[in-house]
């Protein structure tokens, strides 16, 4: 019974550590992630029903395809990925730690045989004189060596960048750190939004996610003094969305008239406000001039949208519609003249072309002198105390993968064996844990230089 249990645990552990599981998980993550890019995420049930029909909708709903990246099975896959990562590291790290902390200082023939870079030579000089020479040579040509004497032999061990072996574990750990940061952000932070009409203030924002946005109390007040859009000259291409924001905490204006633009958010007490959208708030009001063609007399009207005015001849009219940029001609109003008992006469008046309406040939010529449209600014609001953990993870990921890919732990052993007649047998070998080809060339140079040094 116990052996059974033991072997089951062993099997489970081996399963968690296996590289096959890693490859399997990575490919499965890649393949399943595609689903959420094809099916739009987080839409309303009505929309899904329309697109997919009832039966498919039910199946997709069950499988969590509409919020796929937070579904139990996708989070399960990510967990499996994290477990695999951790298990692999736990299994391999002690061995690597040992290689780095307790390197083989006294290599035997068996070790030399396993090295792909190996050389043997004989020197006429005695081991005693060679000892200093070799130590000096290693120091100038490779790295300072640790010298060990055993069984009459002298062993040198020198290494470079032993820490490079930890690069891969730094990378693995960094992924877990990013996960931790993401979890912290999800548990202790929130994503929200708020629309503030120019000249008004709020201390509440609306949390995203869930079926209904829920209010969050900020603990301070945010006022939008003004919102503006500017365009590149001569085009309708937006150049700048700008909100002037004032933060009021405990009755004190702690930040006054701070410009919040896209790519430059406002931060206060760990809560960050991002310029995100804008729109009209309430009906706009207009200043219109109407000139009577026959008399040349002009009259000015101040009207809100839909509010009726009366022309000099007594006919009622109103501004039926307004566009801030009508077919790229700039601001325009749709005017409706409503003669009683006759069909409505409707036409468009452009603010930037005041002469334009004269061409209509009507008795009254309209021009739009000015308009006022109060705007609201739409701000994204985020609190994410985990974001720093994520960045630390990202930095470690970069550092770790550069070390793992491009740094190599290189080791060189030299053994002096006393021979008959005061001669010395020299054995040297080297190994690199990455980029063997480059090390091979370096080792060849090392060999050549050593020979020259000994013969000189």
């Amino acid at each position: 019974m116990t052996t059974n249990k033991r072997s089951f645990l062993d099997a489970l552990w081996d399963f968690c550590c296996s590289l096959k599981l890693t490859i399997f998980t990575l490919i499965l993550l890649a393949a399943t992630s595609v689903i959420g890019t094809v099916i739009q995420q987080g839409r309303s049930p009505e929309e899904y029903l329309r697109v997919y029909g009832e039966n498919t909708y039910r199946i997709f709903e069950k499988l969590g395809f509409f919020d796929m990246y937070h579904s139990w099975w996708f989070l399960g896959l990510l967990t499996l990925f994290a477990v695999n990562l951790t298990a692999c590291s736990i299994k391999r790290l002690p061995r690597v730690w040992k290689t780095v902390r307790n390197p083989v200082l006294t290599p035997d023939d068996g070790l030399y045989r396993t090295l792909s870079n190996m050389e043997e030579m004989v020197s006429k000089e005695s081991p005693e004189t060679l000892k200093g020479k070799i130590a000096e040579f290693l120091k100038t040509n490779f790295a300072a060596a640790r010298v060990t004497e055993a069984d009459g032999k002298t062993h040198f061990y020198a290494e470079k960048m032993a820490w490079a072996r930890f690069g891969v574990y730094v990378t693995h750990a960094s992924i877990l750190i990013v996960f931790v940061g993401a979890i912290i952000g999800n548990v202790f932070g929130y994503k929200a939004y708020v629309n503030i009409v120019e000249g008004t203030e709020t201390s509440r924002v609306w949390k995203r996610g869930g079926s209904q946005p829920t209010p969050i109390d900020l603990g301070f007040t945010v006022r939008c003094d003004k919102f503006s859009v500017t365009y590149y000259e001569g085009t309708m291409r937006p150049k700048l969305y700008k909100s002037l924001i004032t933060v009021i905490d405990d009755g004190v204006e702690v930040k006054k008239d701070r410009e919040v633009i896209v790519n430059d958010p406002l931060k206060y007490k760990g809560i960050v406000f991002y310029q995100s959208s804008y729109g009209p708030a309430g009906d706009p009001s207009f200043v219109l001039s109407v000139t009577e063609r026959a008399t040349g007399q002009s009259q000015t009207y101040n009207l809100r949208q839909g509010q009726p005015g009366r022309l000099a001849n007594g006919l009622p009219f109103r501004v039926a519609n307004f566009s801030e940029n009508f077919q790229n001609f700039g601001p325009a109003v749709r005017i409706e003249i409503m003669p009683p008992g006759e069909p409505v006469r409707a036409f468009t008046v452009l603010k930037n072309f005041p002469q334009f309406d004269a061409q209509r040939g009507d008795d009254f010529i309209f021009s739009l002198d000015d308009y006022q449209q109060r705007q609201y600014t739409g701000l994204q609001v985020a609190k994410d105390p985990g974001v720093w953990v994520v960045w630390i993870g990202c930095i470690l990921m970069m550092v770790g993968s550069i070390i793992a890919f491009f740094m190599s732990h290189r080791r060189i052993w030299v053994t002096l064996v006393p021979l008959d007649g005061g001669k010395t047998g020299i054995k040297l070998g080297g190994a690199a844990h990455r980029n063997q080809a480059a090390f091979e060339m370096a080792f060849d140079d090392f060999k050549k230089n050593l020979k020259q040094e000994l013969n000189s």
């Binding site: 490919i27 995420q41 590149y232």
Partner: protein, 287 residues
């Protein structure tokens, strides 16, 4: 614009390089291969000059942003990145035949860019969302990553052709004859595949990280499972699988080559397909 003309000459140079590389395989004449290389270097020089000039033109227009802001600019930068990585690898491996399988990517990209309508090619000022230095870092890192994968893909296609032939003729000891004799050995191709991904993968990682940093700075969310983000992660997963597959037997060679080709297919979809087929935050595909 003057930079457009230089881009035209770049395309021509890349095309000549491609033709010469292919002729090199057919003729086995070393000089032809060298000619291909010279044309590739000239094209790369012109490409660099054209991008620099376009930047200068953008400054003269009073905008002054790096030419990395729309589809046209990204395609010519992709070609530049491919040449950068290819020429760097060529300095190390000196395997001219690889050029015949890599240059087509650059030529196709440049030719496509040349065929775009004028309004896509014109220099436009940046909309507010793109007004950030993160744009430059993000685009450069992503595209050097993509370029690494392009070269890995070219080498993998060659590997699959070559290894089939080698196995038929009985192992690597008797090299495949005919046109294939100009191909590097399967071992070298496998190595080029691996090395190119070794450059590409950390660059893609950095591209994803800079993208996340920028998203966090602009919107307050470093990750929102937007299709583009998700596809970049899919590509990242595939190549992560590739890198780990190197450590287990049975996943090197053929399987690795296929994984590399699939990875590049996913990369292309991430770059272009997402914009053309799916909807999301990266909308340059429309322009």
């Amino acid at each position: 614009m003057f930079s457009d003309q230089i881009f035209n000459y770049t395309t021509l140079a890349y095309f000549i390089a491609m033709v010469l590389y292919i002729s090199f395989i057919a003729t086995k004449n070393k000089n032809v291969g060298l000619g291909g290389n010279i044309a590739a270097w000239i094209g790369f020089g012109l490409n660099t000059l054209a991008i620099g000039w376009r930047w200068y033109e953008s400054k003269s227009l009073g905008y002054g942003h790096a030419p990395l802001s729309n589809l046209y600019e990204s395609v010519v930068f992709f070609a530049w990145s491919i040449l950068l990585i290819y020429l760097l690898m060529d300095l190390k491996y000196k395997q001219r035949a690889v050029g015949a399988f890599v240059m087509p990517f650059a030529v196709l990209g440049m030719a496509w860019a040349q065929m775009m309508p004028d309004h896509s090619k014109s220099i436009q000022p940046l909309v507010p969302a793109l007004q950030s230095n993160w744009l430059t870092y993000h685009v450069i890192t992503c595209f050097i990553g993509y370029a690494g994968f392009a070269i890995a893909c070219g080498a993998s296609i060659m590997y699959l052709i070559k290894v089939g032939k080698e196995e038929k003729s009985g192992g690597a000891n008797t090299p495949a004859g005919g046109i294939l004799s100009m191909f590097p050995s399967a071992r070298v191709l496998d190595d080029i595949n691996y090395k190119a991904i070794m450059i590409g993968w950390p660059m893609l990682t950095l591209g994803i990280v800079t993208g996340a940093a920028w998203a966090n700075y602009a919107w307050g969310t470093y990750w929102s499972w937007d299709p583009k983000e998700t596809w970049s992660l899919i590509v990242w997963f595939i190549y992560a699988a590739f890198l780990h597959a190197r450590f287990t037997r049975g996943w090197v060679g053929r399987k690795a080559a296929w994984l590399s080709i699939i990875g590049f297919g996913a990369t292309l979809f991430c770059y272009l397909g997402v914009n053309l087929v799916l909807s999301g935050l990266h909308s340059y595909g429309g322009g």
